[in-house]
Amino acid sequence: MNKLRLIIAREYLSIVGRKSFIFMTLGMPLLFILIAAVPAVLAYFNDKGSDTQHIAVIDDSKRYAAALHSDDMYDFVVLQGDSTANPREFYDKAGGSIDAIVVIPRDVDSTGVVNIYSEGTITPALASTVRSAIADTIESAHLAAMGIPNLQSMVQQAHVDVDVRSVKWSEQGEQESSTEAAMGLGFMLSLITYMFVLMYGAMIMNSVIEEKTNRIVEVVVSSCRPFQLMLGKIIGVGLVGLTQMAIWILLLGIVGTVAGTALGLNQVASASPEAIAQAQDLGAMQTIMQHVLSINYVPIILNFILYFIGGYLLYSSLFAGLGSAVDQPSDSSQFTTPVILIMLIAFYAAFACMDNPSGPMAVWCSIIPFTSPVVMMVRLPFGVPAWQLVLSLVLLFGTALAITWLAARIYRRGILHYGQKASFKDLFKWLK
């Protein structure tokens, strides 16, 4: 036991002390923030940076030009009485003082077609501004043409947004839940499990191969049993992963708090229309948050931890066993491809099961041990019958222990095998 602790500690410290680990742990959240922030920053500079565009409007219909309102971005200038003018000639005459010409044809009411001409780029933003302004105006004109008083407001009143609330009967009485929140949570847990197992499985495999290539392994197994070394690695790397996750959660908390405070201050400072709209958004957010909070987390988290451990043990011992059979990381792909394929299938199954978390595919995939750690995560927030959970967990842990045992047998032989590349046939021989 003491030796196992030593091996775990060495493995853990050797990875955590690496520059690449520190870089990765601090760099990943930064990368995410950057990815999230870049479009906003770009859009900001795009809006600020560009000058107001001057748009000439030729209105043959004589009715709809007024619908185009000038603002910071577009300055619409209606050309009076120039209905016969050729847009091309006019554009050339203007000699670059206008950026585009909008031509509203006489029969726009029936055709619904408006043209924009330019030598430069016609931005989607301009097209959509023109489209919505003209469409709204034509629509109101149509309604007015029907001659029914107050039709406009009647139509507006008739318009409804339907909010579907799902209520689940459980032992605690009626519980309002949100399928979206449950789906989101399930998907997140599933993604975490998938990423973690793949990332740290690969890390274990590299660590096994590294010890083998630099030949330290023979010295170490002359002091401890190969199984202790393998288990020590699996636990050590697992702890590295948990450390990394803890740091990320901590960073998330700090960033969240800081951002929350900053937003709060902003709101107090300016009661602009945007802030009010934001407040409304926040209200919607609050309902979502309520739904998110209404999920019963204790069983979900407990099950998540169980599946996480089972899945990690299963796949990491597979990776350790397979890693012991090769001399160089570049040779490992022949063994890892099938494993990664199974993981991918599990992930796609989880994705497909989100629509119908109680369907036959979801049920089977969440019971089969190789897919269950990923797929069950999607089902958990929706509630899973107890017998399925128990069956699935028993199968998962039974298989994980069996795989660990088999992997240890391969590992024992593999770490001393050099030279000729091992094949799957050799691995089966080593199992005996």
Partner: protein, 306 residues
């Protein structure tokens, strides 16, 4: 009963037999050479003693008791293919290996300091292993093997990769460990080092023991009754006593004579002394190298003829 007894050990891999009834008896406090060509089964035998592999048949006893997993703390093993964790610090690495062998942290640290001092590596304690030269890495490896002062040491090709100066230092350390009571099992191809340090040898070939005994006995049993004689006159062959062998290209002043069967050395010498101006003579014993090559070659011919 010897300190380390290996009795009829058999190890089969799928398809071939790596050890076929090998027995070996290593006395306490001696340096024992385990010899043999590549693929003879030396590494397999060493791994069985280290309990990295399990024997299919036979037993290994240490101090009269069948070895168990806990006995590996009594062994220090330097494998032929050396390896270290390149990113670890020298001191940490040595302490780690010591603690894996069951030392307490304090003992391991104290022992590490003592050895680093002895090998002049003190200023490297907090450097990463990858910063060390190859020779220094070999020394660290050696320290890692002996840090826990094991009563049984197993060295597989210990001198490979050492320059002559460091090899000499290593030899001195190995002899010192023997004098302090350690038993040393020494696996090598380097026959010169066998003659220098080993008291006993076992020669393995094709998974079996083909020759075993003390170095002097083995040499005696392989002697070919050749005497190097120094005289002031040219010696003529004597059909009753000896024939003359071609000259040794290195020692040109010597005449090599081969005694006829049944002729004693002193009879030949006294006859030579009567007929020539004799200035000196030495009996030529075969080197371990010659014995090794001869035994292995004759074995292989027998095998091929079978």
């Amino acid at each position: 009963m010897a300190y380390l007894d290996i009795n009829n050990v058999v190890k089969r891999y799928d398809g071939h037999t790596a050890l076929d009834g090998v027995s070996m008896h290593v006395e306490q406090g001696c340096i024992y050479g385990l010899l043999g060509p590549n693929g003879a089964g030396k590494s397999t035998l060493i791994r069985i003693i280290n309990r990295i592999l399990a024997a299919d048949e036979g037993s290994v006893t240490l101090n009269g008791k069948t070895m168990t997993d806990s006995d590996i703390t009594h062994i220090g093993y330097l494998p032929e293919e050396r390896g270290l964790y390149k990113k670890m610090k020298v001191g940490d690495h040595i302490v780690y290996l010591g603690r894996l062998k069951g030392m307490t942290k304090a003992d391991a640290v104290a022992s590490m300091h003592w050895w680093l001092d002895r090998f002049d590596l003190k200023q490297w304690e907090n450097k990463k292993i990858e910063a060390l030269s190859k020779g220094m890495q070999q020394k660290v490896q050696f320290i890692g093997t002996v840090i826990h002062r094991p009563p049984l040491l197993i060295f597989d090709e210990p001198f490979s990769g050492f320059d002559p100066v460091n090899a000499e230092q290593l030899k001195v350390e190995i002899l010192a460990l023997r004098d302090q009571g350690s038993t040393i099992l020494f696996s090598t191809h380097n026959m010169a080092s066998v003659e220098e340090v080993c008291q006993h040898i076992t020669l393995l070939n094709h998974a079996r023991v083909v020759l075993t005994g003390s170095v002097s006995d083995v040499k005696q049993s392989y002697k070919k009754n050749i005497i190097a004689v120094q005289t002031l006159d040219a010696i003529e062959p004597n059909q009753d006593l000896f024939s003359i062998l071609p000259q040794d290209p290195v020692k040109k002043q010597d005449t090599l004579i081969k005694l006829n069967a049944g002729i004693q050395v002193r009879d030949a010498i006294s006859w030579l002394n009567d007929h020539y101006r004799l200035t000196g003579f030495t009996e030529v014993l075969p080197s371990m190298n010659e014995i090794f090559i001869e035994t292995v070659k004759s074995q292989n011919t027998i095998q091929n003829n079978e």
